[in-house]
């Protein structure tokens, strides 16, 4: 337990420093955007959502018995919701489609699954202490359910209308076929290869409100070291800092499949490990845990429990 506490504390510190950085960046970006907005029409695609609240409205520190942060959150939430409402969405996915893709939706019969993901979301939020984060979801073995968990976690985050989520399919060798992405033209690999592309080109809407997805892109014969490139780092930085209420989820390959996990881990705030039921031994899990950065590992999700 103490290990976890320590890890959480370290993660908290890192988080705080990063969030501060991001806030700063966000402010700067907001300033820049404001100036840009004044000069040009806001015809940009989906990314037309404007700055963080500090630019629009000065956050009034509400003196709250719960603490300054919570008050801050409430203010932020209120304002985010308004902004988020203006997001561009495509036609929502039907229930059958969602069921086929094994994606949760609030009215589903299997409330148990739904609640598990909701609880997971709450836990993550508690750990994150309110600020947004990027989380890598990986598995110990291939087809261990990391895509399922990542997608549904992102979905769970999108239920809250003050938050948005982004799921990035980083599994270049085995892309997620159930990724609820629409109008996909280019994906991550294209973006990393082509400097001309912008982040907005690859971030597509899903049929799920408030949720965006980035596909992995075309398969390449010779998989280059994509994730160690600066472009990737920048992309992630941009993605996270742009909107304070966007939660990013990286659907990573399993540690067995590729060594990219370590790279991706270094780019994220948290790591979530998915352990499928009756498919891995404890030693395999142990090995996986050793490979990835232990300080960022917030926990394990047990998947496909049959009882």
């Amino acid at each position: 337990m103490s290990k976890i506490v320590k890890a959480l504390e370290m993660a908290k510190e890192a988080r705080l420093s990063r969030s501060l950085q991001r806030q700063k960046a966000a402010e700067e970006a907001a300033v820049a955007a404001a100036t840009a907005a004044r000069t040009s029409a806001p015809t940009a695609p989906v990314e037309a959502r404007t700055k963080a609240p500090p630019q629009r409205k000065k956050p009034v520190p509400v003196k709250d018995s719960l603490g300054p942060r919570t008050g801050h959150d409430i203010v932020r939430r209120k304002s985010s919701r308004a902004v988020i409402k203006t997001m561009d969405e495509v036609e929502p996915l039907s229930r059958e489609d969602l069921a086929d893709k094994k994606i949760i939706y609030p009215e589903m019969e299997n409330q148990r699954v739904l609640n598990v993901f909701r609880d997971l979301r709450t836990t993550l939020l508690t750990i994150a202490d309110g600020s947004n984060f990027s989380c890598l979801v990986t598995s110990a073995v291939p087809k261990g359910g990391s895509s399922f968990v990542a997608t549904n976690l992102a979905t769970a985050f999108s239920f809250d209308d003050s938050k948005t989520s982004l799921i990035i399919d980083c599994n270049l060798n085995a892309p997620n076929p159930n990724l609820p992405i629409s109008q996909v033209k280019v994906g991550l690999t294209e973006y990393l290869e082509d400097d001309q592309l912008k982040a907005g080109d690859i971030i597509r809407p899903t049929g799920i409100p408030r949720m965006r997805a980035v596909s992995s892109g075309g398969r390449r014969e010779i998989p280059a070291e994509y994730f160690s490139s600066d472009r990737m780092i920048e992309f992630l930085e941009e993605v996270q800092s742009k909107f304070r209420d966007r939660y990013t989820f990286l659907d990573g390959p399993s540690t067995k499949e590729s060594a990219d996990v370590k790279l991706l881990a270094s780019l994220c705030d948290y790591i979530l490990l998915v352990v499928p039921y009756a498919r891995v031994t404890t030693s395999q899990v142990e090995a996986t845990v050793r490979t990835i950065d232990q300080s960022k590992l917030i926990g394990v999700v047990f998947n496909n429990e049959p009882y």
Partner: protein, 510 residues
């Protein structure tokens, strides 16, 4: 924890539902099928009681037959020995005939097979006081018939064996008796021959001879002593005698002198009558008388003169003592002669006896051996005669009575023994359930992979943030339901088959 384990197990089974159901169906139906085909076995047995003193009680113990004690072991397998008696070809052929196997006229090879089959289905066991036969067959009647027949044949065979053995024993003993009788007669003859060749050699003749030798020896010694005595006596006599002779001679001489003197004097007188003293003859006679007187006077002074004794006997000068002594001396001399001769003869006799004794010693050894021989043969012969009598008595007894009695006769079996249909049916269901469940349990027990979130928490101290239950897409669910349907279907089909076959068996159609 327990509920979780059970829940886990059930989920495992459901994960493998198709396979489990198939295994169940296959195993159960195999059992059912085998059960219907399994032949029914009936068993009958009979027990014979064994008389301890009989031959068969020594069957397998290695006695009863001469030279059989080479085996000499106490532990025996009466059952195996009985089997040997029963499974002889002639006996088994009779069994075949009685059991009706020969009705189809099988070939020799087939007969052999049938016999092997029967032997395989027969159990022969033997103890100290019994022999039992147990036989299994597929028909109750035949089982009974074969069992009784086997017992019958066994008793008959065994009696034959007994009698044959007894006769053999008797013959052997007879032969031994004859041979020993011949030996006895021969040794008797030898003894007689020897005794007649050496009549003086008897029991204890050595001792006798020894005594005799001692006797003779002592005789000789005595005689020698006596001889010595006699010699001494002779010597003394001789001495005395010669003394007497001297004395006699002296006396004789004196007497002669005196006689002569008298003569001379008479002569003188005569002369004097005629002549005068101056006559020369008278003078010479006077001188002679004077000389003679002097000689007598000298003789008396001097004593006897030994040199003159030798010639005395002829003078016939005897005194009474001298005569006495002379007779004694001659007596003694005679005695000495006798003694000497006797001694010589005795010595010779003794030598003879010694020679005899040496000879006897040699012969005694031979005699002793012959005697021993004879006595031994006599003893053995007597013993054999006794044994023969016993054997004869036994043999006669045997001819009269059997030593095997049927203790428990066979009974026609009513119900089959061993594994039957119902066992197969129940066993099939049980196995059909147990095997797939067991395998699944084994698989999950041996599977080291993580099944419980607690394991992750405990062993790796990782925080488990959540456990997502199985969530299937509609397609997956459809497949799952199909599997469930198939599982139920197979179980129902199997049970239905069981029901049908069971009913048919019950009503006797199968």
């Amino acid at each position: 924890m327990m509920e979780k384990t059970i829940a886990l197990f059930i989920t495992d089974v459901l994960r493998h539902k198709c396979l489990a159901a198939m295994l169940f169906a296959v195993i159960s139906l195999i059992f059912l099928f085998t059960g219907t085909l399994w032949p029914q076995r009936y068993s009958a047995s009979t027990v014979l009681s064994v008389d301890e003193t009989s031959l068969i009680s020594s069957l397998g113990r290695g006695q009863g037959m001469a030279g059989g004690s080479a085996r000499g072991q106490e532990a025996f397998d009466r059952g195996a020995a009985a089997e040997q008696v029963l499974f002889k070809r002639e006996v088994m052929l009779k069994v075949l005939e009685h059991g009706g196997w020969l009705d189809d006229n099988p070939s020799a090879a087939e007969q052999e097979q049938i016999i092997n089959g029967i032997e395989g289905r027969t159990t022969v066991a033997g103890g100290k006081t019994f022999i039992s036969f147990a036989y299994k067959d597929s028909e109750p009647e035949r089982t009974y018939e074969v069992t009784t027949k086997m017992a019958e044949l066994f008793i008959a065979e065994y009696s034959k064996l007994e009698i044959a053995e007894s006769q053999e024993k008797l013959a052997f003993i007879n032969q031994q008796v004859e041979s020993y009788r011949a030996k006895l007669v021969a040794s008797e003859k030898k003894l007689e021959e020897f005794k007649s060749a050496n009549p003086d050699i008897r029991e204890g003749s050595e001792r006798q001879i020894g005594n005799r030798i001692d006797e003779l020896g002592s005789d000789i010694d005595e005689a020698k002593l006596a001889l010595r005595e006699l010699e001494i006596k002779r010597d003394s006599l001789t001495k005395k005698l010669s003394g007497e002779l001297e004395a006699g001679t002296n006396t004789q001489r004196e007497k002669e002198y005196l006689d002569k003197l008298a003569e001379l004097r008479s002569k003188l007188d005569e002369l004097r009558l005629i002549y005068t003293d101056s006559w020369p003859e008278i003078i010479s006679v006077k001188a002679q008388i004077a000389e003679l007187e002097t000689a007598i006077a000298n003789h008396k002074l001097v004593g006897p003169d030994d040199s003159t004794t030798a010639t005395s006997p002829s003078g016939d000068v005897t005194t009474a003592l001298y005569q006495e002594l002379r007779s004694q001396l001659s007596e003694t001399e005679t005695e000495i002669d006798t003694s000497t001769t006797r001694i010589k003869e005795t010595i010779a006799l003794r030598e003879l006896e010694i020679g005899k004794s040496r000879r006897i010693n040699k012969m005694e050894a031979v005699l002793a051996e012959l005697t021993r021989d004879y006595e031994t043969n006599e003893g053995v012969y007597d013993n054999l005669l006794l044994q023969r009598e016993n054997a004869q008595v036994e043999h006669d007894e045997k001819l009269k009575s059997l030593t095997l009695k049927v203790l428990e006769p066979a009974v026609e079996p009513i119900s089959p023994v061993g594994v039957q249909f119902i066992h197969f049916a129940l066993g099939g269901l049980l196995f059909g359930l147990a095997v797939p469940l067991g395998l699944i349990y084994l698989k999950s027990a041996l599977d080291p992979r993580v099944r419980l979130a607690d394991t992750l928490m405990e062993e790796l101290s990782l925080p488990v943030l959540g456990a997502i239950p199985t969530y299937m897409s509609p397609g997956e669910r459809r497949r799952d339901l199909a599997g469930v349907a198939m599982m139920y279907g197979m179980v129902i089909v199997t049970l239905a088959t069981y029901g049908v076959v069971g009913y048919m068996k019950y009503t006797g159609e199968l």
